[in-house]
Subunit: 225 residues, 2 copies
DNA sequence: ATCGTAGGATTGTTGAACGATTTGACGATA
DNA sequence: TATCGTCAAATCGTTCAACAATCCTACGAT
């Protein structure tokens, strides 16, 4: 029964460490815990009402997700992506997303719609100048692309890359206006896909990555000083 | 100074949890800790002389690497990959490695050599019927391919995929004879690359994945019962 | 201004403790 | 005989307190 299988997910009690990690992840991604900030075990543990041991387990989880960095005997810090990190990030995205996009003709219609729908949303939100939500839709667009590959492992890793990129955006102070340039670009990619011009769509996506990377790295190195 | 930079890596004291995780990782990958086995906190912790808290940190690390699975209030187990896992794994590898291979003409000669050399090694070892080392060289071949992308994040994730695949091999009981069929295949791929026939090489690699996946899934579902 | 050095703060790790959950065996019931 | 509670033992989840190891800072000495 599918209903029972669904309920199972809800039944799985999340461990305290997992819940703490989820809470901290949100705080990091929404910017409340800024990149570079040191997370004191005592302070955070006290504020959240969990023991140091449990908190350290949560830290390990987020360190593995590359949201925190762990320095021996110095503590954990909110990751502060560098220009090199961003280059590495985009090198990975180029391979993953361009490779996934090439599968366009081999996937289900539902998978294809998971690429198209977020672009429509992004366009609509951009017209209302709601750049925050437009940005979220943009991420959904890229999640949809990776989803074409049909691998949860690949999708999970991509989610980590996206999260890390969000941190880089924060360092570069370009939360809102970044997507402005690229929404039409995404729209064009979907058009090419709908016309069956897969190779052109892949090329466009690659160019998008080139431009986005250069832009972000540039702003980052300025901020670095 | 490069010598100083090298020394730095050695200076970084690894935490106890990290060392324990590394030791357990070896034991899992060399088969001493078989897939499906439950890892008692008390037994393992006692044998290794570390406290339960530290051991649990190590477990978290390996769980994140998908070598262990954590079931709430039941403990951690050595992962036992299913047919679906293998399909997911290969879906990811197809995208990552085929996408990386396409970059053949855009990378340094050293990167290309990191693909060729392991194949020569694998061939030499296969001639001596040293299938264990031939298998290791085969992995180096695929690591080399991913390395073409130049992303440590992508390479790290691929290493996790490889490790998980080793577990699947163990469940399928096909440690030694598996690579026998595929060594010549890899040789052919390198030949195509050297001749500049990138697209053909990518196609061959994709076919290799198809065959390997089908083979492995088949043996796995037999073993499942 | 640079270089030790001592002291305080924080992390690394341990061991014990106790509630919560799972497991498996033992009967009771049909 | 098969199924269903019930209960005890084992194990996990989490906290707490303690101490060693390490890092950071401020203070002098040169």
């Amino acid at each position: 029964m599918s209903t029972l299988a669904q309920g199972k997910a809800g039944l799985e009690r999340a461990s305290t460490a997992q819940k703490v990690a989820d809470m901290l992840r949100e705080r990091v991604l929404d910017g409340e815990l800024a990149p570079g900030l040191r997370l004191s075990e005592e302070a955070i543990g006290g504020a959240l009402g969990v023991s140091r041991n449990t908190l350290r387990e949560a830290f390990r989880l987020l360190t593995r997700d590359r949201l925190l960095v762990h320095e021996h005997s110095r503590g954990v810090f909110v990751r502060r992506p560098t220009g090199d990190d961003v280059r590495d990030l985009y090198a990975a995205r180029r391979v993953i997303e361009c490779g996934s996009l090439r599968l366009w003709n081999d996937v289900t219609e539902a998978q294809r719609e998971a690429v198209r729908a977020p672009v429509r949303q992004a366009v609509a939100r951009a017209e209302k100048n709601d750049w925050t939500r437009a940005g979220q839709a943009n991420i959904q667009f890229h999640r949809g692309i990776v989803g074409l590959a049909g691998s949860t492992r690949l999708s999970d890793e991509s989610d980590r890359l996206f999260a890390e990129l969000m941190l880089a955006f924060r360092v570069a102070q370009e939360i809102n206006d970044f997507y402005q340039t690229y929404v039409p670009w995404n729209r064009r990619i979907v058009e090419l896909l709908n016309n069956g011009e897969i190779q052109q769509a892949v090329d466009q996506l690659a160019e998008y990555f080139d431009a986005a990377e250069e832009d972000l790295v540039g702003r980052l190195e300025v901020e670095q000083s």
